[in-house]
Amino acid sequence: MKRTLALVLSIVLALAMVFSLAACGETADTAKTPENPVIRMSTTTSVNDSGLLPYLLPVFEAETGYTVEVQSAGTGAAIQKAVDGNADLILVHAKASEEEFIAGGYGVERLSFMYNYFVIVGPQGDPAGIADCANAAEAFAKIAESGSSFISRGDDSGTHKAELKIWGDNAPNPETDTWYVSAGQGMGACLTMASEQNAYCLTDKATFLAMENKGDLAILLAEGDDMKNTYSVIACNPETLDGLNTEGAQALIDWLLGEEASKLIAEYGVEEYGEPLFYLIED
């Protein structure tokens, strides 16, 4: 008994050593590594969880020899990390917060380069009857009127800010309006909750399409003048923040705005979902 245990342990130990050695080897042989090869990117969950960055960045990394470390969180946290000096650039989608970031001296320039649409998803039966609404504000009014459940991100994220903007002065009170659920969680968790509770939810289209288990949820309202979702990239300001990889951040921004990335972005999702998940901003 003891002997077998010792044998199993030593095999496990040996395997662990082999794997850690292999991992070391991988990082060792990048041929044309730039001087400062690590770029720290702070971004929102929607561009990362939808698979866009995992799809784009390996191409950039292979071409330039940079390594991009992506930290994804809600827009609030994504920006705060950059303010704290823990990122070289940000890729987010909340105009007001972005402008505040630049006004505070933390960012250089806001470069909006792609957009998509928020969609309202809900139970297929559409109890509030929002499918024919002209825009999201009208749909929200109908949801409120019918008292159907609505899941709000409630986490200060870009999507949450967009939702609050659509509610405007009619924002429900999560304490007294029990149909309005302020979940304080990420997009995926909120969509799961909406599917569990037959509730409506405002989401970016990419995350919804990429969701595995949609249950009864369907996209009920897809386009409206108030549902555009613009993504921007901002390099952090080396005059305010220390220890930045400004050169790397600029290389990544140039690449993202360049022809090759544009082509890749426009193609992303077409094969899998029959439509692109992100559109380019033509200037």
Binding site: A73, A78, S157, E175, V181, G184, Q185
Partner: protein
Amino acid sequence: MDKFAEAFGYLFSLDRELVQIIGVTLKMSFFSTLISCLLGFPMGAAIAAKKFKGRRTAKRILSTLTGLPPVVAGLIVYMLFTRYGPFGSLNVLFTVKAMVIAQVILITPIVASLSSAVIEGNCRTIRETAIGMGLDGKKTFALYLTENRTALFSVLLTAFGRSIAEVGAVSIVGGNIQWKTRVMTTAIMLETNKGNFSFALALGIILLIIALIINIGASLISGEEPCDD
């Protein structure tokens, strides 16, 4: 620093939402601890003192389960109570009940494991005493627990600490819903995700203060004395 002031300002002005969150936290931790101990103490005593088939296996399983990741406990409860799951019709998901169930799954093995270690230490002596006193099986079993009450009380406090500090399971099955299932830990997580790092830290300190008050209260009740007196 002003964020710290803000957080404590909330606490001392008895901000309604913060008070409600603390209330939910205490309610959840109270029931999680109570149920885990009601299940875990007898389990621990049985494993320490009773002779039965598969005792060693049971012991192994329990000590393995003490390493159960909270997220997995959360997932198990989620799968059980999801709308199309076996108990979906009970409408328990995203309520405090679901959070307590997940925590009981998580904490009972810890209580059972720790209490069996405690009782193993003196169960022989206790059994001899019980035989001497002519007690029956049930009373002897009760004696294992009552004779170890001080040590078991600290097991209970460990269970409480685990419960009040836990975030992985409760955020999955509770959903962190404002005014309903939001507890201190999920509120801290939310503030962290918002980028309000110092406010989140202040909430963490408030949580620790609550734990401290409860521990002080507990030590007053148990009246523990050093043996070197």
